[in-house]
Amino acid sequence: MKILVTVKRVTDYERKVKIKPDGSGFETEGMNFVPNPFDEIAVEEALRLTKEHGGDVVVVSIGPNDATQQIRQALAMGAQRGILVQAGELDSDAVARVLQKLVEKENPDLVLMGKQATDDDANQAGQLLAGYLGWPQATFASKTEGLESAEEKAQKPGVKVADGWASVAREADGGIETIKVQLPAVITTDLRLNHPRFASLPGIMKAKKKPIEEIPVASLGVDITPKVRVLKYEEPPARLAGVKVADVDELVNKLKNEAKVI
């Protein structure tokens, strides 16, 4: 089976992001970029599925030329080849349209994507892609209840493929629901699905020799006009210090009149 996996280049969550003084974006100087953690889970799931069923994992990223580093990381984990669509900042809709083109070209049995990227937390591209393709979707793929360790999860995977269908345990309000979707389909991954493997040094050396195809976004003939405009970036307000209340009456009073939540 052939699986297409998306990997977005995002800012390192270990580092503090600084917003430019004019609010037009964030400072990239000294910033480290990493693969979106949700996408690493998608890569891991794709590698697990192809190990079980055979086939190839193709990794796609849309972004600047430097995003080859994030593709390389997925190749170092074990994916077979990569595609970089060279583009600037796109909104979720444009991303979905670009991916639609690639899916038509690559013809995968399954598209695996992180449910969202940790930089903008939009959580839209997977759903939009399924819509444009007219494919079924299973979002927020997760683990079966009660499984914690990597070994347990590997034994009872949240995503199972058989007879042209995928059964997916997904996070829903109040618990896990399992749905079946007919392939080809789009599946987006949540945090608890698996423990992604680390890129090993031998894997990193092998990845150097794996092909990465570079495609300028303009050559795809996709309308990427933004539907979402960014007006301004700003820091969330600083958390205020807490206060101690003398008794329950004061607490109720504050909740009612200051916080206005009851």
Binding site: G30, N32, R72, Q73, F198, A199, S200, L201, K208
Partner: protein, 593 residues
Amino acid sequence: MSNPLFSDRHVDFLLREVLDLPGLLALPAFVEHSEETCAMYMDACRKVARQVLLPSYGPVDAAAPGLEAGGQVRLHRDMHEAHRTLVELGVLTAARPEAVGGTGLPMLATAASHAYLMAGNLAAYALEGLTTGAARLIESFGDDDLRARFMRKMYDGEWTGTMALTEPQAGSSLSDVATKATPAADGTFRISGTKVFISGGAHDVAENIIHLTLARIEGAPAGIKGVSLFAVPAKREVNGKLVDNDVLCSSVFHKVGWRGLPSVQLSFGDRGECHGWLVGAPHQGIKYMFQMMNEARLMVGLNAVASASVAFHAAIAYAQDRPQGRPLTAKDPTTPQIPIIEHADVRRMLLRQKAIVEGGLALLLECARLTDLSEHHPDPAERKAAFLLLDLLTPIAKTFPAEYGFEANTLAIQIHGGYGYTSEYPVEAWWRDQKLNTIHEGTSGIQGLDLLGRKMVAEGGAGLRDLAGRVTATLAKASQAGLPATLTEPLSAALQAWLQASATLGAKGATGDVDGMLRHSADYMSLASVTVVGWMWLRQAVAATNATDRDLAQGVDAAARYWMATEATKAPALAARIASGEDSYAALDPAWL
């Protein structure tokens, strides 16, 4: 609480801006590598260190293994998982050449990446570090048969290795090694004797352990010249099956720190059935071991930096989080308390830790760079110069982080106050770990003797002359970059003081007063340390003048100024004491104590 282990931006700054990793990668030996491969390996090590090793550190420290029936030692479950992960990650052969199945990564990139693993869980990393060191002895001095028999499986992570040197009566004094090796008809030897403090000497994470053992062949000359090196497996292969090789773990030491890694007493050949394989030529054991010892000493130095760094970062987080007290000028007790990082003395303790940790890291990574240059520079003269300088810096790079690092770990506890003195916070555990680093792989006393008695005088003082030239060049660069005299003058004076003390003591030695010379080795080590680390800080300050990350640049500037003002200025006083010949301790009668 999450802990970054090291400051990523500082490590990246050292690699790129101070130590010129890109320049190193341009050498023909590293044609297979690029900044990208180095960065990807670094990322992988950071992740493993933070996500797998650090969470395992507390549980592993709390459950030190003991001795079970039949000499069994069972390690914590997390040590098993860490071993699997580290082997898979490729740490064992990262810096080994492709010819032996390695990846040939520059030592500079390897050391910087592995520092995170040490900071995450030093016991887990040490098991791999010891294995690489032991396998390397076989790689360097063993023949093809020994490589096939032992080295291959060690580099693959199937078996682990140890260095079995110390005996109850022979610790620092290896010339007193008494373990016996008797030639057998099959070309191997029968080993008998007792070794103590063998780290990783018994465990259950791998099916076999290869002990690189110093022993004396029957009839060998007394002293250092009669000691040979043997590979002694815990289990030997007979008809394709592993059988017991008569190596018994007779006790497990209860250690203050490094509690995840058992240090044990081993009895070889109680039944006369312990087979050992001679590595290299007879009677060359100490020479072989010394070649590896320098590398092992650098590993101890890096470990000391790592144990100080993880505690430093815990202290930063705690100081920002813990409200206590009010500004000295605040009179109103109803105002909220401020985080302790607002207090000047807490900031002083943090800056001191930063100066020690990041100055120490710069020194260890400089040594890693010199290792690469001494092995791989195409010009033989450059290789030689790098080797001599590395040789001079090694005892300092082992001792400074261990001695000053212990102080840094103490300061991390101090910042945590009463809580720091409890096991509720891990700072006390890193402090316990740190203490070993002044002791193993040559005590600080041994390092002082090595620096003054061997390294300083080697090749007519060529290493020291070269170093003086390099420090002078950095001073010139600093002036060109417009750095203030407060940064350059103390280092310039420290360098002069070091050269002067070297001349004074060198003259004593040359006139036959070796005792009189070496009595000053501790002061001499301190003098060398404050100067060399001052050099590291000035190099960083020069590089930081081009840094666009303002927080990084200001942090470097603050630590450099602190170091020059408080530590580099100690150098002239140390030199004066050495010149005065003050050595009242030498004349001490034990009865006076």
